[in-house]
Structure formats: structure tokens, C-alpha cells
Symmetry: C2
């Protein structure tokens, strides 16, 4: 057996766990002579990992940024933290980076020992839910869509590896059916995830909403993927969704110059457009009126605004207004309203 490969990995692991190491310490841990250690360091350097060394009485080795990313040697805990992070990131969405996030997630999911996986599933459901998105809880009445990150991980793997899947699906009309598909792409649209796949039974592309899938069974049968560009995929999904799963949209007209509003809102205000010199229009889109109303709260205090949108939204606002007013008045005996 090759002591040397595993030792090299261990060295890398040590160097990653603390920044600074004296040769002496490393020698003790690895159980080799000092000369061999130097040779190991040399080897790692040849592989492109930046190991800096310092002489003198506080000398030692230090793993720095090199030309490439070295293999990450993680403890179990760290692996869990990373997996949880990736799952929630996939959920929260980082526009344009979904694909990469999923591929990183797939890499970890693939090698995750079972006990760790259980810890992740547990943790992920305790994680702070995103801004009106994702995360845990098992509330049924709660309007925030929940994303089953476990499912997401499994699907990411299957897409990457072109592995045929079996699952049951409940479509928009409540009809359940068993499906056998060849999965291609996961596409996030408006806080929900969709799977684009080739349906073997219908011999055509189909789009599946993740929260309507159940009983996923990876068949371990590989298929030959047809060519499909990212653009194609997105287009197909968007087309499939054109007439369903519409989200709630509204326009908020704020009595504030565009720049001022944008500065106040930061990231949320990226779509704000000016409507004259002292007024802005803030287009909002959300999956539920609740989330839409939450955004309104960030309009600077004391500033007036007006909302244009479907009756559903306006009714919701009126209802919330009433409840807020009642709550505020009810507790304060001196019925405080500002006039």
C-alpha cells in the first residue's frame, strides 16, 4: 500500500486546518523524517498548490492561494455546513449561478456518508427560511412555497449523470400519475423549481414542478442525453409555464425620486424606474400577496405610495391595514392614531 499518497493528503489536510505549521510539528504528525516532509511539500508545490515557507525562529509552512483550487479536505461538520449552505443557496437563488451551485451540490451529495446526510436533512429544515422563500417548516397553510432540498439534491445528481427517474406526479388539476422520465435540467422560476425532462411514455418534453413530485426513485439506468442548450431548456420551461403558476405582480408608485429610492432599497430596488423627476415606479413580483406586501414595508417611512395591481393584492393590503390598525390601537389604551 502506498503510504505516500495518503500521507500527502494528510499533509494537505493539516495545512488546511491551520494556517501555520512548523516543520517539526508536521514531522511529528506524519511520522516521517524532515527530509521527506520537505519532499512532500515540494510535491504539493509541483501540483500547483501554493505553500509558502518562512525561515527563522518563527518559521514554518503556510498554505496560500495557489494557481488552482486544491482538493478540499473537510471534516464531517464542515461538509455538513457546506451542503446546508448550498442547498439553501440553491433555494434562495443567485441569479445565473444556479447551475454551478447545483453542480457543486451534486458533487458533495454524491459522496456524503449516510449519517452526515441525515444531519443535513435535519439541519436544512431548521435553517432560516429565505426572504419569503424556501426553508423548512412543515406548515401546510403557509403560503410560502417550500422546497424539498433533499429532492433538489437528488435531481441535480440525476440530471448531471443522465440517470432515468421514476416518480409520481400530481398535476395542476390534481390528477396523479406515475412517470418515467429522462431528466435534463433544473430551472428556477419565480421562487419555484421545475424539472425539464423527456417523458418516456409521452415521448415528449415535459416540465414538472418539484413540489408536486413524490416517491422519487432513481432507476440507476443511464440514458444517452439529447443535445439541449441552456437557452433551449429555459425557453421550454417558460413556455410550459406561460399559462400556469402565475405569480402576483403589482406596480408601486412612490413619491420619491428614483435615485433616492434605489439608494434606500439597495438590492431590492434594482428594477425601479423613474416616473418624472420626483416619482418612481417600483415593479414588484411575488408568489403570494404576503411577500409582496412585505416589500412595501421598506418604502421609507413617511413617504407616500400607491399600489396598482390585481384586486387580490389590494384586498390583502386592506385586510392587513385593518389588522395592523387594530393591533396598534388595541394594545395602547389611549387609542393612538396619528392624525
Amino acid at each position: 500500500m502506498a503510504a505516500t499518497t495518503s500521507r500527502t493528503l494528510e499533509l494537505l489536510s493539516l495545512l488546511q486546518s491551520h494556517r501555520h505549521w512548523a516543520a517539526r510539528e508536521l514531522v511529528d504528525r506524519l511520522g516521517v523524517s524532515e527530509r521527506t516532509l520537505r519532499r512532500d511539500v515540494e510535491r504539493l508545490r509541483e501540483l500547483g498548490y501554493g505553500i509558502e515557507s518562512m525561515r527563522g525562529s518563527a518559521g514554518g509552512y503556510r498554505l496560500e492561494a495557489g494557481t488552482g483550487l486544491p482538493p478540499l479536505l473537510l471534516t464531517d461538520d464542515e461538509g455538513v455546513a457546506i451542503a446546508v449552505g448550498l442547498r439553501s443557496q440553491a433555494t434562495a437563488g443567485l441569479r445565473g449561478a444556479e447551475h454551478t451551485t447545483l453542480s457543486a451540490l451534486a458533487k458533495i451529495e454524491q459522496v456524503l456518508p449516510a449519517p452526515l446526510r441525515r444531519r443535513i436533512d435535519a439541519l436544512a429544515s431548521h435553517a432560516t427560511p429565505g426572504p419569503g422563500g424556501g426553508g423548512g417548516g412543515s406548515a401546510s397553510g403557509r403560503p410560502t412555497p417550500e422546497i424539498d432540498t433533499e429532492l433538489l439534491g437528488a435531481l441535480a445528481l440525476a440530471c448531471r449523470d443522465s440517470e432515468r427517474l421514476r416518480f409520481s406526479y400530481t398535476d395542476a388539476s390534481g390528477q396523479a400519475s406515475a412517470r418515467v422520465v429522462e431528466p435534463y435540467r433544473l430551472v428556477p422560476v419565480a421562487r419555484r423549481w421545475y424539472l425539464l425532462a423527456w417523458d418516456r411514455q409521452r415521448d415528449d418534453w415535459r416540465t414538472f414542478r418539484l413540489d408536486r413530485m413524490a416517491d422519487l426513485f432513481p432507476t440507476r439506468v443511464r440514458f444517452e442525453p439529447k443535445p439541449l442548450s441552456d437557452d433551449d431548456a429555459r425557453r421550454r420551461v417558460e413556455q410550459a409555464l406561460r399559462h400556469r403558476d402565475r405569480s402576483v405582480t403589482a406596480r408601486v408608485i412612490v413619491e420619491l425620486p428614483r435615485d433616492e429610492l434605489v439608494e434606500h432599497l439597495g438590492w431590492y430596488g434594482r428594477d425601479v424606474v423613474a416616473d418624472g423627476p420626483s416619482r418612481s415606479v417600483w415593479p414588484l413580483e411575488a408568489d403570494y400577496p404576503e411577500n409582496l406586501a412585505m416589500a412595501l414595508m421598506w418604502v421609507p417611512r413617511g413617504i407616500r405610495y400607491r399600489v396598482e395591481g390585481p384586486a387580490e393584492v389590494l384586498e390583502f393590503l386592506a385586510e392587513q391595514a385593518e389588522r395592523f390598525a387594530a393591533a396598534a390601537a388595541g394594545s395602547k389604551n389611549d387609542s393612538r392614531r396619528r392624525s
Copy 2:
């Protein structure tokens, strides 16, 4: 030079990038004989990584969950995705797992080539901000605290490696000063991060709020850390904060049995307690009234509630109520303004 170690890593990398590999393909890529490949696989198995093999015409190798987490061999993109994920996770907070997340973050930050780091910094500021937490935007008037994830990463490294730091700090009273400290722990409290460190000039423990630090300079001088338990650290920080940075709290009395409310709220409702058979109390805490009010929106529609809390909160609610009402009424029947 050792072709074998690097080849082993490359094999691992291949196995991680796709699930399934035929021996033939691997042999072609690695440029060795089939026998040697088998030996390499054997070596990896001995190291505890689960490589499954299948015979027959669709045979091949497959990296599965093993006993331990294998070294992760990431592409640049994946590394970036992971780093971004970890930064935002540290920000969003996962109670109890902060430490692990930071240690994983430190590991990656340490070895991140400069160009990748730049991409991360750019991306992180575009990421979706959490629920009233973290994330990007540079708004000054926005009440959500912003967290400089770059700073967080650098501090995590310095804590781990016991590296003395220099920075300038602006305290609560607006007084700026230059500090030299020995950093020990990063502690998140109520959506903000604090650094617990030993102040070399004052010869005592000090707590620094991250968003008040600037011009961080890692001295690369190591220090001998004094013993300090996690509990100790947390206690010190909490004590230091006792009289500043208070957050907003309130109690919401909801006319709904506890279980029903909890089921509806999911994660958010973890602190709900019963108040009689048909009423519940939902304690809320947030850094700003905005965030507190957002939670109220999740009380099931049609259910009445009452809020007990500081005047600040009630006033805020009253104001929002008025704005909502105005927005709802204003657009509906086309009378532009309220009253």
C-alpha cells in the same frame, strides 16, 4: 516526480465530476494501463472512499458515499459557488452552526486564488439578502444591517490562526480609534456579528461590532491564544452588549390555539406558547420594527391578533396600516390619495 499521487487525485476528480465511468474511459484519460487503474481504484478504496464497480456491458466505476468525506476536487466555478453560499449562510445564520460554517469558510478562503476571490466579492454583493438580514446593497438609509462578508471571511481566518490584527474602529459614540487586537471569536447576536478580541493596548477583552470596523490589516504575527471556552466568549459578548444595540421585541396575542398557529407558521412559530385553549402568545424579536411587522403578516388571514410592545413598534404598525389602507383604497376607486 510522483506521477502516482497526482494521478490518484485526478482519478478522484474524474469520479466526482460524473457519477459513472467505464474503465476504458478512465484509462484513456489517465494514460495508464488498465491494471494500474484497478490498482488506483483499490488504493482509493483503502483510503475509505466508496467506489462501487459494476460489471457487464454497462459496467463501470461509481463514486458512492464512503465512510469518510473524500477530498473535494472542485472547479473554479464550484469553489466560487461554495464560498458565496457559505458567506451568505454565515450571514443568514443557522443557530449553533456558526462556528462550523466559519471554519469551512476559512478553509476555502485560505486557498482561494485571487481572481476567484474577486468574483466572489462581486457575487456576494449581488446575492439575495436574507429575510431582513445581510446581503448586498449599499443603501445607507436602509435599516437592515449589512454584513461585509469579505471582512467576515478575513476575521474567521485570523481567529482560527491566532493572527494579530490592526484596524480602525468607530465606537458607538462616533469616536474613531486605531486598534491592535488578538482576535478570538466571532459571535452573531441578533443579526449582527461581533468580534471578541483581546485589546493589546487596553490589556483587556473588547467586543467590536463588525460594521464599525474598517481598514483591516492582518499583521501576520501570531500570538499565543489564552484559553477561552465558547460559553465564556458568548457570555463576554452578551455582557458587553447588555446596554447597547438592543433589539425590538413584542408579544403577539393571537386568537388561535397554539397547535394550529404553530402548524401554520412552521419555522417561524417555534417559540409560540399557549395562552388558554384557544389563544396563543407569539414572542417576536427583531432588529427593526420593519422586520417585526413582516412576521405579523403571516398570521393566518381572517384571524385577529393584538400586539404588546414598545410604543415604537405600535407607532410603526399604525403608520403602516395607514399606508396600506391608503394604497389599497387609492388605486381601487381611483381617488388618488387617502382621506
